[in-house]
């Protein structure tokens, strides 16, 4: 059951919103113990995919397995095993950071003393100890991401899903986040995170899945996907962007734009 070598595997995952196909048959694979990056332009379907994988959004079709367990058929086992930080900063804003963590722990049935111990440690590591008793509503973006990550880690999940964890985070907080995540994957746990920032993905990840228009266009170990180029170049090539910025339209259109026009 759980001897699957893959932490995450989806098969023909499909989701449409009205006329728009957001995710059109995605076969996402993430080997166990990897630090995986899910990259793609805006609207590629990253968030939709992660929402479906974490059981927050019902897929129209396809199957999702985490550690070999079906997300929609075996929710109890799957939910105990995953940690989630969704897009946006949707947290219980009227709880303090400390209360938010203990709420999460209690909700998951972890004994109170253990919750308190883990909470204090997480707050310290995340550099949030001074703000632990402030309401989350008064937190900055970086602090929210950190408290969100702490909440996702509290029950020691096997697989962690993070949607844009570094968006709007200052360099100091980002450093803290990466340190924690590195240590976490070193122990054999799996991290899947989505990002636009290629440098970051290149620096952190050993596994990359590239999405474009609701499809996986490339997937595999980092070196295989970038194939000797920088990840950014490989990515632009894969998603079919006109890399140079002056393609067919670039020179002709927008002629009015800029200080020297007219």
């Amino acid at each position: 059951m759980t001897d699957s070598a893959e932490a995450v595997r989806t098969q023909r995952l499909f989701k449409r919103f009205g006329q728009q196909v957001a995710v059109g048959g995605v076969d996402l694979v993430v080997p166990r113990g990897s630090f995986a990056g899910l990259v793609g332009p805006n609207g590629a379907g990253k968030t939709t995919t992660l929402s479906m994988v974490t059981g927050l959004l019902r897929p129209d079709d396809g199957a999702i397995h985490i550690d070999g367990l079906d997300v929609w058929r075996d929710p109890v086992a799957v939910k105990a095993r995953i940690g989630v930080l969704p897009e946006g900063l949707r947290l219980f804003e009227r709880l303090s950071g400390r209360e938010l963590l203990s709420y999460n722990g209690q909700l998951r049935g972890i004994p109170k003393t253990e919750v308190e111990r883990r909470t204090e440690e997480l707050l310290r590591v995340m550099d949030l100890a001074d703000s632990a008793d402030k309401l989350v509503v008064d937190y900055s973006t970086g602090m929210r991401k950190k408290i969100g990550l702490a909440a996702a880690l509290l029950h020691n999940p096997r697989v962690l899903f993070l949607d844009e964890p570094f968006e709007g985070v200052d360099p100091v907080s980002a450093n803290t986040l990466t340190e924690v995540l590195r240590r976490y994957t070193a122990s054999g746990a799996t991290v899947v995170f989505s990002s636009h920032v290629m440098d970051l993905v290149e620096r952190l990840c050993d596994w990359v899945s590239v999405m474009s228009r609701g499809q996986i266009v490339a997937q595999g170990p980092l070196d295989q996907v970038r194939a000797g180029r920088s990840l950014n170049e490989a990515f632009l090539g894969l998603v079919g962007a006109r890399g140079e910025g002056h393609g067919q339209d670039g020179g002709e259109g927008l002629s009015w734009l800029g200080a020297t026009s007219a």
């Binding site: 059981g55 929710p75 219980f92 709420y103 026009s261 007219a262």
Partner: protein, 575 residues
């Protein structure tokens, strides 16, 4: 919502326009005339509105509003149903209101005018207060979303005014009020002045309502401000109950005289003058309308000032104070775990979230006023004087739970990534109910005692409290079902006082009314015998209430688990 949608046209684009228009303070050149004009430092591009305001017709805002309404409804059956429901309700209100006001023609002249005066005042007050309290009446555009467009505040105000009158309820109000022309006007002069009077009254309603929401929207951007504002909403609720109290106190004496006494005061208020002007139709009417028009302009100016301020005021409340890290009373008695977690979190939210405070204060205030006014009424008497208000209080409190997950809103994912069974959702609901009951049980007991003392028989407090607790249980059970079947989002920002985000007002209405009707019907087995005098039935009320709430949670837990992605989606709309 791009610039294209707004149809922003640069002045000086067309060949016929050259140079800045008089009164245009922006100062920019038209084509090829940039050099030499005062203030024309911006490059005179190909008609780009480089430094000044642009001309935007209010019609564009109307189109935008219509597009937003349509967009909200697209591909969502429940919302569409809610919207259709709203439209039907509005048509009914407009039709019956129009006919009712027209029927004033058959009343004696002085009575007709008095009724018109009172009604017009009520319309204005409802418009002023309504959008703050009632579900989704006010879904005008958020001005801050338009802040970056090069619009002068006046244009923005005209546009916002146009969007404000684009809607089901404004149109219904206008139709309704034109009934007064048919009902009150005498002669052609009266009709002509009547049309003006109704339009001015309508404009007054809209502008006042806008002024209040805009002025408050600035305050609501700071967290502290929102928290303080919670209290002023209670004031509005109480003020809304004031006429009710007065009428209840006085109607028994002589309705006609009472009406005249009220109308003779209200007649000098702006809406009173509007109503009076329709009936008068002479020179006095003209003078009144001039005053009214001036008032509309003044309030309009104030609104523009408020709008201008709201656009540049940012959230200033990032400095937060620490909260006490207490575990709370409830946590000490409950076994550690999910139930305790949810219940204590809910209690914290009732205290810390302004929305939580608003609903609690509203329930208490409305119930208190009702109990007071009921007790002053004559006739009926008996145990109903105690059971009535106590049950009403129970219903008001239980209605909060008709959308249990609404206040969690976008945060609800945090629970849903944990819950893997229907049982977990049931426990979650139980935690919420426990939190409500923790506050409500003593409150309802107190209410029953007060009502019993007012009614003159302290012993009635016992059946009163028991029945109220039972009704609360019934209400919670039904509320659990509506919470999972017709969930809706409660907006967090700006319109913190409307019940639902734009487009979900109808659903909110259905949820509240479904809970009220369902709860009312299910409560009949205990309330009817007690009101008929079979007092011992009240002993069964609490077990019955517990049973219904348990059954409600049981069913709702399973339904909630089956459709939790949809549930989380429904409460995560908007803001």
């Amino acid at each position: 919502m791009a610039g294209r949608d707004l149809g922003v046209n640069g002045q000086g684009t067309g060949p016929g326009t050259d140079g800045p228009l008089p009164g245009d303070t922006g100062g920019f050149g038209g084509d090829g005339r940039g050099v030499g004009l005062p203030g024309a430092s911006a490059p005179a591009g190909n008609g780009s509105p480089a430094g000044g305001a642009v001309r935007v017709s209010p019609l564009i805002f109307v189109r935008l509003k219509l597009r937003l309404i349509a967009g909200n409804l697209r591909g969502n059956g429940v919302r569409l149903a809610g919207f259709i429901f709203t439209v039907i309700a509005a048509i009914a209100v407009a039709t019956f209101g129009f006919l009712g006001l027209s029927a004033l023609r058959f009343a004696p002249d002085d009575v007709a005018v008095d009724v018109g005066v009172v009604l017009f005042t009520i319309f204005l007050v409802s418009w002023a207060v309504g959008p703050l309290l009632v579900f989704g009446l006010d879904d005008t555009l958020d001005p801050s979303r338009l802040a970056l467009f090069p619009l002068r505040t006046g244009q923005l105000a005209a546009g916002m005014f146009a969007t404000s009158i684009t809607g089901v309820w404004p149109i219904a109000t206008l139709i309704l009020m034109s009934g007064a022309i048919a009902g009150l006007a005498g002669g052609i002069g009266g009709v002509l002045l009547g049309v003006v009077a109704v339009l001015l009254q309508f404009a007054l309603c809209i502008v006042t309502s806008r002024l209040i929401t805009t002025a408050l929207s600035g305050v609501m951007r700071t967290r502290r401000g929102r928290d303080v504002l919670a209290i002023s909403v209670i004031f509005f609720v109480l003020a809304g109950q004031l006429p009710n109290l007065l009428l209840n106190g006085g109607f028994s004496a002589d309705p006609g005289r009472m009406l005249h006494a009220i109308a003779s005061v209200l007649r000098w208020t702006p809406p009173g003058m509007a109503a009076h002007a329709i009936a008068d139709g002479g020179l006095v009417a003209v003078a009144e309308l001039v005053v009214l028009a001036a008032l509309v302009l003044v309030i309009g100016r104030l609104w523009i000032a408020a709008l201008r301020k709201a656009l540049v005021t940012t959230d200033a409340s990032t400095e937060g104070a620490s909260v006490r890290n207490s575990r709370g009373v409830l946590a000490r008695f409950l076994p550690d775990g999910q139930l305790a977690a949810v219940a204590t979190k809910e209690l914290k939210y009732a205290r810390r979230d302004p929305r939580g405070r608003v609903v609690w204060f509203t329930s208490v205030a409305v119930t208190g006023v009702m109990a007071f006014s009921l007790s002053r009424g004559e006739g009926a008497g008996g145990i109903g004087l105690v059971v009535g208000p106590a049950c009403l209080g129970a219903v008001m409190i239980a209605l909060q739970s008709a959308n249990s997950f609404g206040i969690d809103g976008r945060s609800l994912w945090m629970n849903s990534v944990v819950y893997g069974t229907g049982r977990a959702w049931r426990t979650d609901l139980a935690g919420r109910h426990l939190a409500v009951a923790t506050i409500a049980t003593p409150l309802l007991g107190l209410l029953a005692v007060l009502a019993a003392l007012l009614a003159g028989n302290p012993l009635w407090a016992v059946p009163g409290a028991l029945t109220a607790w039972g009704v609360l249980g019934v209400g919670l059970g039904v509320g659990a079902m509506t919470s999972v079947l017709v969930p809706y989002s409660v907006p967090e920002r700006l319109n913190a006082f409307t019940g639902a985000v734009p487009g979900q007002g109808g659903i909110a209405f259905v949820a509240s009314f479904g809970a009220m009707i369902g709860g009312g019907l299910l409560a009949l087995p205990v309330t009817v015998p007690i009101l008929l005098g079979v007092t011992w039935v009240s002993a069964l009320a609490v077990p019955y209430g517990l049973l219904v709430s348990w059954a409600g949670r049981r069913m709702a837990g399973d339904i909630g688990f089956r459709r939790y992605p949809e549930l989380v989606g429904a409460v995560s709309q908007g803001s």
